[in-house]
């Protein structure tokens, strides 16, 4: 696909990440990774656990820094976390002492929106995730799937340039997970946010993404970049179509060449 270089949002250039705790010998988690994320893309990074996906995303968020190479957003070097990059985590990270609506307002208050604006934005996103009725609940009263919905709303309410998601549905049951995937597609089509989504689930990556990066472990490298040429409007039936299965299989073949044989 042709992409306008002006639309380049996040650029990762030749990144190495070496963990060096002092006592243990240095451990290379990421080896010479480069990737490009353009405006409005839904980029999925798929790979087995331990291949360095979280490490990559944390560096894009500015929560950690590369040993070598550079990461930029809109051409500027990332030097720390900021509200231009919202993040949703695999673990539940709602603030348990804040009610659902106040969780969503957390970033809005920091951005100094007026009370009325905070209220308006909060309810807009509560409506999108379908949890208006739970506005006054504490997180402990919500199920896992509902917590992740609120976490997504909280990140989106801040209107970030890029939404970073680290296996956000990893802890959910299969049904809830596919519901969340539909919700994510829906949100992305409406809001046209740029999304970077990490998962170890190949099916999830293909279903959600407009582009998939395949990562292989020890040390973490980008094995392939695949444009997903599937329709814009996706429902769960898509997962059973031959086109979908073909892409899924080809990625599976890259990650697990001998997966048909018992080891």
């Amino acid at each position: 696909m042709d992409k306008n270089p002006m639309d380049l949002k996040i650029a990762v250039k030749g990144i190495d990440k070496v963990y060096n705790d002092g006592k243990k010998s240095a451990f290379k988690a990421i080896d010479n990774v480069s990737l490009n994320v353009y405006k409005n893309e839904f980029v999925c990074i798929v790979g087995p656990s331990g291949c360095g996906k979280s490490t990559m995303l944390r560096m894009m968020a500015g929560l950690d820094f590369p040993t070598k190479g550079i990461i930029t957003i809109d051409g500027k070097k990332i030097i720390g976390p900021g509200d231009d990059r919202g993040m949703v985590f695999q673990t539940y990270t709602l603030f348990p002492w804040l009610r659902v609506e106040d969780n969503i307002k957390f970033g809005l208050k920091l951005q100094k929106f007026t009370k009325a604006e905070q209220e308006e934005i909060t309810y807009k996103y509560l409506r999108i995730i379908g949890l208006e009725k739970f506005a006054k609940c504490y997180p402990k009263e919500l199920s896992g799937g509902m917590k992740q919905r609120v976490a997504i709303a909280r990140a989106l309410a801040n209107n970030p340039e890029v939404l970073l998601m680290d296996e956000p549905f990893g802890a959910l049951d299969l049904f809830t997970k596919s519901q969340m995937q539909l919700l994510m597609r829906d949100i992305w089509q409406k809001e046209k946010t740029t999304v970077i989504f990490i998962t170890h689930d190949i099916e999830e990556a293909v279903f959600l993404g407009t582009k998939v990066y395949v990562m292989t472990p020890s040390p973490g490298r980008i094995h392939a970049e695949i444009d997903i040429d599937l329709p814009e409007n996706r429902d769960l039936d898509l997962k059973d179509t031959p086109e979908f299965i073909k892409i899924r299989r080809s990625i599976n073949e890259m990650l697990h060449p001998d997966s048909n044989k018992l080891k």
């Binding site: 944390r58 968020a61 500015g62 929560l63 720390g80 976390p81 900021g82 509200d83 990059r85 919202g86 993040m87 985590f89 673990t91 990270t93 603030f95 348990p96 002492w97 804040l98 957390f106 970033g107 920091l110 951005q111 504490y138 997180p139 402990k140 976490a151 909280r154 990140a155 801040n158 970073l164």
Partner: protein, 265 residues
């Protein structure tokens, strides 16, 4: 066949309370029996009624109120000082490795030093004024408190702080709006535990270096072999400890209705 009794089976609150009351009654009964039957000389073991009448006598002559007030004053000052310094230092240690390297190993070392041994030293340094007693409570609680607050702060997950950061919070905002609220319930439990210890250190200080306070009243009673007064002193201190503990417990339940699986302890 009878069902097996398994570990940690739940029990009705009423039954639990009944058994607890029986335990108290049993101890009281044993005590009464031992003192009434003449098995133990009454100089060594006063009867419960003697202790109770001593209690009311001390209230009436004003000595109990006076001693209690001064003891509460000392413990409050010592504990507040330890909290005002210990909590921020503990939090900073958890946030910055430099701060941790500076304070944590030192606190680890000092907390193993016997607190009562500091009493003579403090008396040499600052006499037997109020400040030396406050300092004993402070020394007894502060170093331990720093270490426990570090643990409380460390128990807040990195992801929770990262969530704050990615919503646009600075370091300061993350500390005040994420770290502190998240650790607050554990911190209150820590303070609740520390104030229990503070009572012990207060009595240590008053036993050796005071001429007022509940600890001192126990020491004075010993000189005149007034075991009823000793018993009363010990029981009053125990009761005061219990009351502070209950107050803390109520406060914790009131302050943190959002806490998950709110344990009742």
């Amino acid at each position: 066949m009878q069902r097996k009794v398994l570990l940690r089976r739940p029990m009705k609150r009423v039954n639990y309370a009944i058994i607890a009351i029986i335990a108290f009654a049993l101890v009281l009964g044993l005590w009464t029996f031992a003192s009434q039957s003449g098995a133990v000389n009454s100089t060594f073991l006063p009867s419960p009624t003697e202790v109770v009448s001593k209690f009311f006598a001390s209230i009436n002559d004003g000595s109990l109120g006076e001693n209690t007030a001064i003891s509460i004053y000392r413990i409050t000052m010592g504990f507040l000082l330890a909290t005002v310094l210990g909590v921020p230092i503990g939090i900073l240690c958890s946030c910055f490795r430099t701060m941790s390297a500076l304070c944590a190993p030192l606190c680890q070392f000092i907390r193993y030093m016997p607190v009562p041994a500091f009493v003579p030293l403090l008396m040499v340094w600052m006499g037997i004024g109020e400040f030396s007693k406050i300092m004993i409570v402070f020394i007894g609680t502060f170093f331990q408190m720093v270490l426990m607050i570090i643990d409380d702060a460390n128990s807040v997950s990195d992801d929770l702080l990262a969530a704050g950061y990615t919503l646009g919070a600075s370091n300061t905002v993350t500390i005040f709006k994420v770290l502190i609220p998240a650790m607050a319930p554990k911190m209150m439990q820590t303070l609740r535990m520390m104030i229990g210890w503070a009572w012990t250190y207060l009595v240590v200080a008053e036993l050796v270096a005071a001429n007022t306070g509940l600890g001192y009243s126990i020491l004075k009673a010993q000189r005149f072999l007034k075991t009823d007064a000793i018993f009363m002193g010990i029981l009053v201190i125990g009761l005061l400890g219990l009351i502070t503990d209950c107050l803390f417990n109520i406060l914790i339940k009131k302050l943190f209705p959002w806490e998950e699986g709110g344990k009742n302890g």
